[in-house]
Symmetry: D2
Subunit: 276 residues, 4 copies
């Protein structure tokens, strides 16, 4: 296929895109660190974690209010209440809010709060949602589908872009393979490949990528070394009681320790990570 990526391809824009989110930029020299709980559970939880990740140097708070779950009977998030708490966390900490949209119906509510709207792996080929997100101008964090090729990820971004929203950051979060020790297989080669094919920034989510907190720091460092523009990391102050994804969530102290290493690494690689 020659030049299939009309808008998100390198040929459309030879220099890297930098996505503005308030006073932050994603895709430039400064690494973007998004951290927080899988799900927003209650005020205490989200504020406690927000303060901790901010103190460690994160500029973005992640937290799911509407959760797409495999089972209709699993915890689906606290929904609108979660958005209220995220807004409160932003007001207190100044962190930018990254939160997932579950479907077209909840897009408006999410867009009213989010600084960055996350489209998750399960929705990467939900073309109606991609188009609706393309009609907004809010930055979109688009995660690679579990069995999506890199080409398909870029084509999904092209759907968003084709409606006029070029504020897109991509995110590698692991693909499905036969390996059973890890939850997914984090495909870090997607980082240099996307960098070659597209001008869009690409982040890495090592938490979903491996599914085991103890291996998250190693993969976070690897992601940065591979050239990623930032990280999305699950942090929980009490992983054992998290309502979702506890096994892959870092405790705040471990996250802070990891951030020190990321900062040291950034220096060697020509990237920066502001001290908190």
């Amino acid at each position: 296929m020659t030049e299939p990526y009309t808008l998100v391809g390198r040929q459309a824009r030879p220099e890297d895109s930098e996505i503005r989110v308030g006073d932050a930029l994603v895709g430039g020299k400064e690494l973007a660190i998004i951290a927080g709980p899988c799900s927003v559970e209650d005020r205490d939880q989200v504020l406690q974690i927000a303060r901790a990740v901010k103190q460690a140097g994160a500029k973005f708070l992640r937290g799911g209010a509407f959760k797409p779950r495999t089972s209709p009977y699993a915890f689906q998030g606290i929904k609108e209440d979660g958005l209220v708490l995220l807004r409160e966390a932003r007001a207190e900490t100044g962190l930018k809010i990254v939160t997932e949209v579950r479907d077209v119906l909840t897009l408006e509510a999410v867009a009213a709060v989010a600084d960055v709207i996350q489209i998750g792996a399960r929705n990467m080929t939900n073309f109606g949602l991609l188009e609706a997100a393309g009609d907004l101008r809010t930055p979109i964090l688009l995660k690679r589908g579990m069995s999506a090729t890199i080409e398909e990820l870029l084509m999904a971004a092209e759907y968003v872009a084709s409606r006029g929203n070029l504020n897109i950051m991509l995110c590698e979060r692991g693909i499905r393979t036969f390996e059973r020790y890890t939850r997914n297989t984090l495909d870090l080669s997607a980082v240099p490949v996307v960098k070659k094919l597209s001008h869009l920034p690409i982040l890495v989510d090592p938490s979903h990528g491996v599914g085991l907190w103890e291996h998250v720091p190693a993969m976070a460092l690897a992601a940065i070394a591979a050239g990623a523009d930032g990280l999305m990391v699950e942090v929980h102050h009490n992983p054992a009681e998290a309502l979702s994804d506890g096994p892959q969530s870092l405790r705040p102290d471990r996250f802070a320790e990891m951030m020190l290493k990321v900062r040291a690494l950034a220096g060697v690689l020509g990237r920066t990570l502001e001290a908190p």
Copy 2:
């Protein structure tokens, strides 16, 4: 996991479910054959193919009006015009219409025409769409996602069922693997496994499963022998000029020949396939 399938599991209903579509039943002794073009292109095309597949014994006409495509620049179907032509084909031939819904926004239009609403592989985890389909009572044909486990397919069905619509037929259409000769790897073991775990009917789409028309008949026969309740097959009178999926579409004469073999096989397996 013990008994996770509250509504679609065998424990909820030990006998096989038979889904009524007008005067036809899917999931009983009679095999359900769905055939037709990938996309509805024009009146001539759809009527010509509809007549041919009816004559060969199909009771259901497939044909996409709204096409979810990897690229936003690929042919996306002729949309509402396609629905009109499908209605016309039904009026003339009596075939039941199976057509895909692309997103929540087009669900109402599709539901107004379709006898069976198809939710395709790319939408299997579009939970908003699954729930909206669950609010209808129209039968749903739910295709397995490209990297969905059988458990996830059943959980997607559970989403539909949990909203009150138990009129669900599942469809195996191939999964993503490393093999490159075929388009996907048709996982026929999904047939007996679904039969064990669930009371819902399961069909097989050998056209997407292998992606090469010449191997479709062999895989169609294999699907029936594995216990499938029916087939979904792409047929086009002029595959070389089809606007989508030409390489995997059977010509009507080859489809008719295949149907003779399916009928012979059905007899041995305790199934039936009415002569046209």
Copy 3:
């Protein structure tokens, strides 16, 4: 790649190859049924199972004497003693012996007894072993590797053929995918694809393909319907106490029941399966 299969390709021999094994032929009209235990355990076991599978219509007895196992500490077979018992089972029942070679060092011992030498999935790219097998004239049953493409399977056969041994039967036994309910994903599309590309017979092993005995009959029928030249099935009179692969072994009565269905199917498909 154009015509890469110099010796095993269709262009080398347009008609199907029939492999002679004593008074039996594999690859002709008559289906070849290979059945027996995963491992030869003791005289009683192998003779009891041999009689049962013969009575049900199998012409070939499978049984591992040298077992390649993932762990060096797992049961590795009873080795030379197993070969003695297989010889004895042949003397009593007249069944042809199919047994696996573990490595080059045991090839001579295996070749002295086997009517068909099995090269298992783990050895499909053991090129030294393929070449040594190519120097013999004993028929070779070559199983597809767990992650081998169909092209690589045919190239492995080409290794054997290039040394002069064209007595090769291929065997699909499931590939590795993300699906976890089944042990492997049985890729039945390999059957028509191999038939198109090569003149060699292809069998299917549904036991390893699904790994669960209750789904073996469905997949055996599907394999025959897809055009396979025969089956390789694990049968054990006491699966619960089998030293290996118990969960995927059929009891003799269930195997006999399956054979009745295979015979009925064969008739419809233009194949034969002699009554026992």
Copy 4:
């Protein structure tokens, strides 16, 4: 499974193993860099590349004399002549020789020259070869099979170890997935996982991992950041005319440039890489 790795597991040896290769150690603080051509082609080629990789800081020269290839008709290496040239390259440069054994029959010849014997991905379940390698005391570089789980890789190492040879270094080289842009999917999460489960060193081969030279440096850096004990990299002075693996081979100048970055990274990570 509890503690399945009797000899190579962490419980057998809580501290990291350091494998001695002459005056070098693999698995300690110092990173081990193995570089060189895919295949030894001629004296000029191997000496020229050997000098270049030594100058850039590699301590080990890779080069295949016996090449396991998918097709029996592909270039299979220059065999014994290659071993002679590798010996000559060692004599001139002092580099340690890492070269692959193709099968049991060539083990003695390879062992007579190699400082480290490579067992490649295609032979990871060639148990006869693993055992024969276990009877030696030469260090073994054991590569992960294309579809091997991490557990199976460690079990293959256990085969070698169970015969008394604990001088084993593991190597991640990419697994088979559906992604088609890269040759394989480099599973860097294998690095921290192996580190947790085993005391053996683990290296990474980014050349086979991605199959495209331009992405090799990014993945090499990522591997080191993930905690790998070293790298195995294909370098060729004239990739366009290499007899094998040209597209994934770095030119010497690019390799040298990459090594500068690896050295800088090592410092931050508490590892060392001696200046050349």
